[in-house]
Amino acid sequence: MVKRTESQQEKRSSLIPAPVAGLLSLVVPGLGQILARYFYRGLLLLASMGTIVGLLAWRIHLLAHREGSPLAVLAKALQRRPSFVIPMLIGAVALWLFIAWDAYQLAKPEQRKRSGIVFLLIFLLFFALGWQITNIDLYTAVTELPDVLPRLSQILWPWGAAFDEITEVISAGANIQVPCTDNPPPPPEEIPGQPYVMATPTCGDLSVQDENYRLVPGTVLTFTGRGFAPNTTAEIWWFDPLGNEFRVRQEGEYLTVETDDQGAFEIEVTMPYRLIPSTAEGPQLHRIEARQASRVIGLAPSEALRLSIERMIETIMVGMMATFFGIILSVPVSLMAARNLMSGSWVTMAFYYIVRTLMNIVRSIEPMIWAVIAVVWVGLGPFAGFIALTLHSIAALGKLYSEAIESIDPGPIEAIQATGANRLQTIAYAVVPQMIPPFISFSIYRWDINVRMSTILGLVGGGGIGFLLIQYIRLLDYRAAGIAVWFITITVAVMDYASAEIRRRFV
């Protein structure tokens, strides 16, 4: 009925006169068309009109749901978003009238014109509704662009964060006794050619908090040094007897000092606040040190780069292992899912349907969702990602392999059997050569998919580089995230090219 030819349609005469059809469509959109024997057209128009009115009512309600009466709702919505509500109302009314006019045209006995303009109007109304429901906001997209550009440039070119500078550090320190006794430590001995520091006095009291939690500053030391690199910043470090080392802060800032032309400096250092356990008794020996990064002697991969490489290897391995196990396990599954092998009896046929159904269910659940389930099962990490990908691979490859088995050409089998070959020879000569190309092609294709999928399984805890990526994004470390993104992109591109190339060669 849908695919009538033009001449057949000409013969269909309307059940009702044209004006009646128009009026009926004015009451119930599409009814006139249905009675004019344009059943599906009428139904489509009725469904479109209903959907448009329903969606429009929903959006207007959302704009003004606090108002009481429908009229008040409409008024409020008009006031809040006139650029949306007014054209939509006009469009809906126009569509209503158009449908009635369409019914009138179709029911006219002499020239029954079918016009497509009513469907154009329906498309425009759906487009406008879709625009509003999806919250498409080009203005925001343009005005907020400057906010994203620095992040984007960090992600696109993150290599500044890929390496850390290795610097040569020169340092010298002096012991400080806390608290002072009659016998303070002597200043350090000077070794020629080495940087030298000296603190006066060599003993004192640390900063402490009083009962009102106010800081009572400790003894001020005069810290002098010489033999450092000239005109370079030196950091002041403090070592307590518990083995902690930390940079000294003064008024919230790290304390630093610039050396002069001779590489000497002098600075006042207030002894810092340390909470030393009360079990420690007697005078304690602290230490103050000046450290200077004198020159850069090399570059070392940063933690982000090292982790990205490690996780990328993990990712590729997850994809590889999932493909490997997927291939091995899907072979028996595909044999059970091949109709031509299982059509022997009703038992095997039942088996075939069960395997097919299970495969379709497993395949229709995305690996991401399998990963969420696997994380609950075996915990966070690459093993969960491996399980998710393996399950999905078995189902996907099982289907592809079984279809390859089903489409095997029986001719060569017959021909090889006719030469007097035994069963194994027949398989080796007539079946295997036919199975190799699809087998290799599907397996490589699956490897490609699995590596690609494993890069994002980490987002839900399935291990691999995705885990690192989502961590860096949450830490707002866009450069590190950029490094991970680069590795994902390179790997996916290489896999994509390699897989296409290998398949092209083999098939």
Partner: protein, 271 residues
């Protein structure tokens, strides 16, 4: 290389009351009986679905007959066990309408596949063949004129060349009989004559040929004897001279009332 021509007129193959009913209830062959003598070029004619292919495949048991007996040089093929049937099959070459080559393998491997019934089965599984077998395969390819294509992939060859590979494969079996199932139905008329010419030459060297054909002109040119099948029954038997004189009535008897006699080169027609 080929078995010496047996004494002409000696009975080689006897088919007795052969019936084949498929699992779905289709009766493909009904109570067929005929004999083939050594050195004959027996052509089976009949419409598509008349049972020609089933009959040829029953002879080497690619299809299991439902009833009846097939006697091959005194051995009952229908009673043979798996090992016996393989030995019988290797003496009966077979050629197919669709050539049935291993498309992705080389021509030489396809030809060597004809030796599978003779060679060491284990080394053949990894595609290893003794040197003399390879030399024999090259000679077979030379006979059909495509030795220069030996190392091409089978699917790179034209239809006529592929069928010649099929003949070479059958030759490797050193067959006493060749079953040819519509060997030229996929080829144009000129190639058809070329392929049937090879079969005729082999026939003259003593190999019995059982061949199903569509076109009456080819039948008249090559057959020494003809059997006509219709709906699984033999409706016509004729000698070489009978075929030459075959009338339109007899032709209709085989091909059905609506059939028109066509000559080679016209499409469709009797088929």
């Amino acid at each position: 290389m080929y078995p010496p021509s047996a004494i002409a007129g000696k009975e080689m193959l006897e088919v007795r009351n052969l019936t084949k009913i498929y699992d779905d209830g289709t009766v493909a062959l009904r109570n067929i009986s005929f004999t083939v003598e050594d050195g004959e070029f027996l052509v089976i004619i009949g419409l598509s679905g008349s049972g020609k292919s089933t009959l040829l495949r029953c002879i080497n048991r690619l299809i299991e007959p439902t009833e009846g007996e097939i006697i091959w040089n005194g051995v009952n093929i229908t009673q043979a066990d798996a090992a016996q049937i393989r030995r019988i099959r290797r003496e009966i070459g077979m050629i197919f309408q669709q050539f049935n080559l291993i498309k992705r393998s080389t021509v030489i491997i396809n030809v060597l596949a004809g030796r599978l019934g003779y060679v060491n089965p284990w080394s053949s599984l990894v595609y290893r063949f003794p040197e003399q077998e390879r030399a024999m395969a090259m000679r077979a390819l030379e006979r059909v004129g495509i030795a220069d294509q030996a190392y091409k992939r089978a699917d790179e060859l034209s239809g006529g060349q592929q069928q010649r590979v099929g003949i070479a494969r059958a030759l490797m079996q050193q067959p006493r009989m060749i079953l040819a199932d519509e060997p030229v139905a996929s080829l144009d008329p000129v190639l058809a004559h070329s392929i049937l010419g090879y079969l005729e030459q082999l026939n003259k060297e003593g190999i019995t040929i059982l061949c199903s054909l569509h076109y009456l002109d080819l039948v008249q040119r090559y057959a020494t004897r003809v059997i006509g099948l219709r709906e699984g029954q033999i409706v016509y038997r004729g000698s070489r001279d009978d075929i030459r004189r075959m009338t339109d009535e007899e032709f209709r008897e085989v091909y059905g009332a609506e059939a028109v006699r066509v000559s080679v080169g016209l499409e469709g027609g009797a088929a």
